[in-house]
C-alpha cells in the first residue's frame, strides 16, 4: 500500500530529524549555556553523549554479526544435508 509506505517514510524522517536536533543541541549548544538555566534539566550530563552512541553502536554491530553468523550457519547446515 502506498499510504503505509509514505507513513513509514514520514516516521523515519521525523525520527532522524529529532535525533539529529536533540544530539546537536546536547553537544554544541548546552555546554555554552549558564549552569542555572532551566534547559539543563532536559539534557543528561555530557558524558552520556559519548556513552549512549558508543553503546548503541556496539549493540548494533553485535546484532549484525549475530545475524550474519546465524545465516552462515544455516546455509552450511543446508549444504551438508543436500
Amino acid at each position: 500500500m502506498e499510504l503505509a509506505d509514505r507513513a513509514v517514510g514520514l516516521l523515519l524522517t521525523l525520527i532522524s530529524l529529532s535525533i539529529f536536533t536533540y544530539f546537536t543541541f546536547w553537544v554544541i549548544i548546552v555546554p555554552f549555556v549558564d549552569s542555572d538555566h532551566f534547559v539543563h534539566q532536559y539534557f543528561l550530563p555530557l558524558e552520556y553523549a559519548i556513552i549512549i552512541p558508543v553503546f548503541a553502536g556496539v549493540a548494533l554491530l553485535s546484532l549484525l554479526s549475530l545475524f550474519v553468523g546465524s545465516v552462515m550457519l544455516k546455509s552450511r547446515k543446508k549444504n551438508k544435508k543436500a
Partner: protein, 108 residues
C-alpha cells in the same frame, strides 16, 4: 566525436564528475575539521575527557543523514498504479497461455 559538416566537436579530456576529486574534497574537509578539533584539545579549551565527542557527533550525524534519505525516498517513491494493472493483466494472460501449453504455472 560529433561532426557537423566541417566542424568537429570532441569531448574534453577532463570529465566534469571525476570520481577521485570528490573524495579528495571530502578527505581534506575531514582533515581540516579534525585538525581544528585536535587544536582545541591541545589548547585545553576542551577537557581530555571529551576527546571522542567530535568523531561520535560526525558518525551520529552521518547515520541520521542516511536514515533521512531513506525516509524521504520512501515518501517520494512513485507506485505507477496503471502499470500495476497492466502488469497483472500480462501475468494472467501469460498464465493462461502457459497452462494451455501444459506448463505448470505454480501457486494460484
Amino acid at each position: 566525436m560529433l561532426t557537423f559538416g566541417k566542424l568537429t566537436y570532441s569531448q574534453d579530456k577532463g570529465a566534469p564528475f571525476s570520481p577521485m576529486k570528490h573524495i579528495f574534497k571530502i578527505i581534506s574537509l575531514l582533515a581540516a575539521i579534525s585538525a581544528f578539533w585536535v587544536g582545541l584539545l591541545q589548547a585545553s579549551i576542551i577537557p581530555r575527557t571529551h576527546t571522542w565527542l567530535l568523531p561520535i557527533y560526525l558518525v551520529v550525524s552521518l547515520g541520521c543523514y542516511g536514515l533521512l534519505m531513506v525516509g524521504v525516498g520512501l515518501m517520494q517513491f512513485p507506485t505507477c498504479p496503471q502499470e500495476a494493472v497492466l502488469l497483472q493483466q500480462d501475468i494472467a494472460e501469460a498464465k493462461g497461455f502457459l497452462k494451455d501449453k501444459g506448463v505448470d504455472v505454480g501457486s494460484d
